[in-house]
Amino acid sequence: MHLNRKPIVKILFAVMALVGTSMLLPLAVSLIYGETKVALCFAVVCVPMIVIGLLVIKIVPKGDNTTLRMRDGFFIVAMAWVIMSVLGGLPFMISGSIPNFFDAFFETASGFTTTGSTIVANIEILPKGILFWRSFTHWLGGMGVLVLTIALLPMLGIGGQKIMRAETTGPTLDKISVTVNDSARRLYTIYLGVTILEIIFLMLGGVSLFDASTHTFGTVGTGGLSTYNASVGAFHSVYVEMVITVFMLLAGINFNLYHFVLTGRPGQMLRDTEFRTYIGIIFGSTAFVSVMLLIHNYYDTIGKALRYAVFQVVSIITTTGFGTDDFDTWPIPCRIVMFLLMVIGGCASSTGGGVKVIRIILSLKIIRRAADIKLRPNAVKPIKIGGKTIDENTLAAVKSFMILYALTIALGTVVVALNGFDLTTSLGSVIACVSNIGPGFGLVGPSCNFILFSGPIKFLLAMFMIAGRLELYTIFIMFTRTFWNENR
């Protein structure tokens, strides 16, 4: 094989050790809540993972060639997410909370990809340690364990430039800094800051530390797994809903923009085209949904309609998937708006999924230009965003991404339909997984779960989550001949 094996093995085992280390936190939580059996399960899983991981890193020699090529980068990222989802599921299986492999893989992939789809019907009976781990995977996945790994990469003596390319979400215009390690460090400092802030705000509203932290993990990672069957609706508190809404909205913004705010240039953030469009879409959809809810007499007061509409709109566009209300029982136009928001997703370089707002903006400009060119074939029209011309290669990449996305949803629906559930359910489950939302439509709507699918289909949906999280190409490229053929 032509892949640069030594550094790949090192990185993958580092990821394993990292996942093992992060299990120490839920282990501690289990001990605090007196769940010794669950704590033991975590210990049985995490100790070998840490030990083996560290040993392999030590034993495998550094090798002469430490440069990573594109292929290596793709391979590492794809494998890392699959390995994480398999290993992260072990505590679920051993503790007996989710005994089936496919179910555990689905649940963990859903966590790490910050999707938030679940196969657990009654969440509230699960042990606290397990619930904590479930939410904590969101937090880890949110920023990408790999971004953390990149910060740790210097320890391994390997530069991480190539990995960033596979990992970063969507086309970006601003680079915080030249070196990857610096920007990674900065990004997760911001991430940590936002997390602590939300926990504090939630606790001010009378939420226990456990609930505050689990829901914060779900929010800032735009995951959406809750510790209650009724999701955020279980709190029955407008304050909690508003805090979560604000933080979901923050998590859906390009994290690079926070750098401007922190360095005293908030104007830069407000001028950002993607940010403005994102806010515009949220306002527009909230207004539309609340008006429709009032017209259809779904709610009797403007206050109620607004409260549920804004939470659900923000929850879906940021691809979090928390619920305070079952949007699948709303009037049909509202449901279609929700579907469209699922496709759009958050901003580039946020923790949100979907196709990203920036790609929507670019697509609309591409379509507009195509119409112009049709009528004036010789016109040369560059596409600009915020005054900067976007080069044609980026535009071509956006086009093929959008079409690939549509193809994935369409063909995915056909395959999932093999399970025999109606088309709404099949389509709903695929969009919910590929866009990393969580709840879909029909039998996988907000009040339901994904347990109904067969094992292989659950596996496929979990792979869709990972593919969606890694911008489709990273996973799909593994299945091309070009990738495996040195000569092509």
């Binding site: 496709v343 379509i367 071509a396 959008m402 056909v414 339909a417 990738f483």
Partner: protein, 409 residues
């Protein structure tokens, strides 16, 4: 005439506005017929019925069980046939990205003297297909009126066969056959007659189309048989009929698809997006564009690994110029956008989520009745019908109509 030929863009725009104009005038005339005869009292409904016929969509606001007079059925099918003829004229006038790649490229490409010749060829094929289908249906025992309706409505890919018109498996086979025939590039027939088989051999689009026809029929029929939806004979009969009906975007419905296994439903649904070959009467995205777009997608994978690679796209053994390929992907994106807007527009009248998705496809691909889902046409409000008409026209004119307002010149 010569001056006009030199100003290519002006020609396109004039042709576009002309086609729209003819569409509107004919629709108004046919609308007047419905209103005057008292068949439909609401002008908006009459307009929708007319546009639906001229765009070969085939959706009808008339209640299905209402016993309609024979003249009305023939009139409606005739409108669909005229709609097909208009599309052929439109093809001869304008050549989009897809059509440049058609085997006929060289002779059709420019406006001018060749326009008349090419139009004549297309019309000849169209008329020959219609007449032979009519005669074959007569031979299988259908009445003259029913045969006429079915022939006019099938060859044009309209999609409204009067209830009970088809007499058993043989006449259904005839309909299936002609749905396939009308989805093949019309210029190929001309070449076949002239004996220029090398042109046909070169058409990778035709090969892919035939491949899709066979594969999808096998998949759908097998699904129906394995699931026990029908016995084997009916699985094949209904399976093939509905599959081809959607692929050719005709939209004839002889079985209730909504009761089928969702896998078969989803396959059939996607087929109407694929549509037929370029320069045929079938709507949808068209096979040639799909081929190019799949190549573009596969190229995008290679580019991820080898950022500097230059890979050419070939169709019909000819290289597709870069700018054309780029334009085609932009076209597909326009389709997707337009389709999603359609889903939203339809949602105001739909009883469930999935019907929004199927009905929007029914309108934009001009498939019609087979994809109506759970929407009851006679209950749809007048405002929606008006909006839907716009979607049908744009879909039929390959979204060109969309481009007019965006030009400020």
């Amino acid at each position: 005439m010569k001056e006009k030929r030199q100003k290519g863009t002006l020609g396109i725009k004039t042709a576009l506005l002309g086609s729209m104009g003819i569409f509107i005038v004919l629709s108004l005339i046919s609308m007047a017929v419905y209103l005057a005869s008292g068949t439909i009292s609401d002008p908006f409904r009459a307009l929708f019925e007319s546009v639906s016929a001229f765009t070969d969509t085939g959706l009808s606001v008339l209640a299905k069980d209402a016993a309609l007079p024979a003249w009305l059925l023939i009139f409606r099918s005739f409108c669909q046939w005229i709609g097909g003829a208009m599309l052929l004229a439109f093809f001869a006038l304008i050549f989009s990205g897809s059509d440049i790649l058609a085997p006929s490229t060289a002779s059709f490409y420019r406006l001018g003297i060749q326009f008349r010749a090419s139009l004549k060829r297309l019309f000849l094929v169209y008329a020959a297909l219609t007449v032979s289908m009519f005669l074959l249906l007569l031979a299988t025992g259908c009445t003259a009126a029913d045969s006429l309706c079915a022939a006019l409505s099938t060859v044009s890919t309209g999609g409204s066969i009067p209830a009970g018109a088809l007499k058993g498996g043989l006449s259904e086979t005839v309909v299936v056959l002609f749905m396939i025939l009308t989805s093949i590039s019309y210029p190929l027939y001309y070449y076949a007659v002239k004996g220029r088989t090398e042109k046909i051999d070169k058409s990778s689009e035709l090969n892919v189309f035939i491949g899709i026809v066979i594969a999808s029929c096998v998949i759908v029929c097998a699904t129906l048989a394995i699931n026990g939806t029908y016995d084997i004979r009916h699985s094949i009969e209904y399976g093939c009929f509905q599959t081809i009906s959607n692929l050719s975007t005709t939209g004839h419905a002889i079985a209730d698809i909504s009761a089928w296994p969702s896998f078969a439903q989803s396959v059939i649904f996607l087929l109407s997006f694929a549509g037929g070959c370029s320069m045929s009467l079938a709507g949808g995205v068209r096979i040639v564009r799909l081929i190019v777009i799949l190549r573009i997608i596969s190229r995008s994978f290679t580019v991820r690994i080898h950022p500097k690679a230059v890979i050419s796209t070939k169709v019909n053994k000819k290289q597709v110029p870069r700018h054309l390929a780029a334009r085609m992907s932009a076209y597909l994106m326009t389709c997707i956008l337009f389709y999603l807007i359609g889903v939203f527009v339809v949602s105001f009248e739909s009883p469930d989520v999935i019907s929004c998705f199927t009905m929007s496809a029914a309108l934009i691909t001009s498939t019609g009745p087979a994809l109506a889902g759970n929407i009851v046409m006679s209950d749809v409000s007048a405002v929606s019908l008006l909006l839907w008409s716009v979607f049908m026209i744009m879909g039929r004119l390959e979204l060109y109509a969309l481009f007019i307002p965006s030009s400020r010149s």
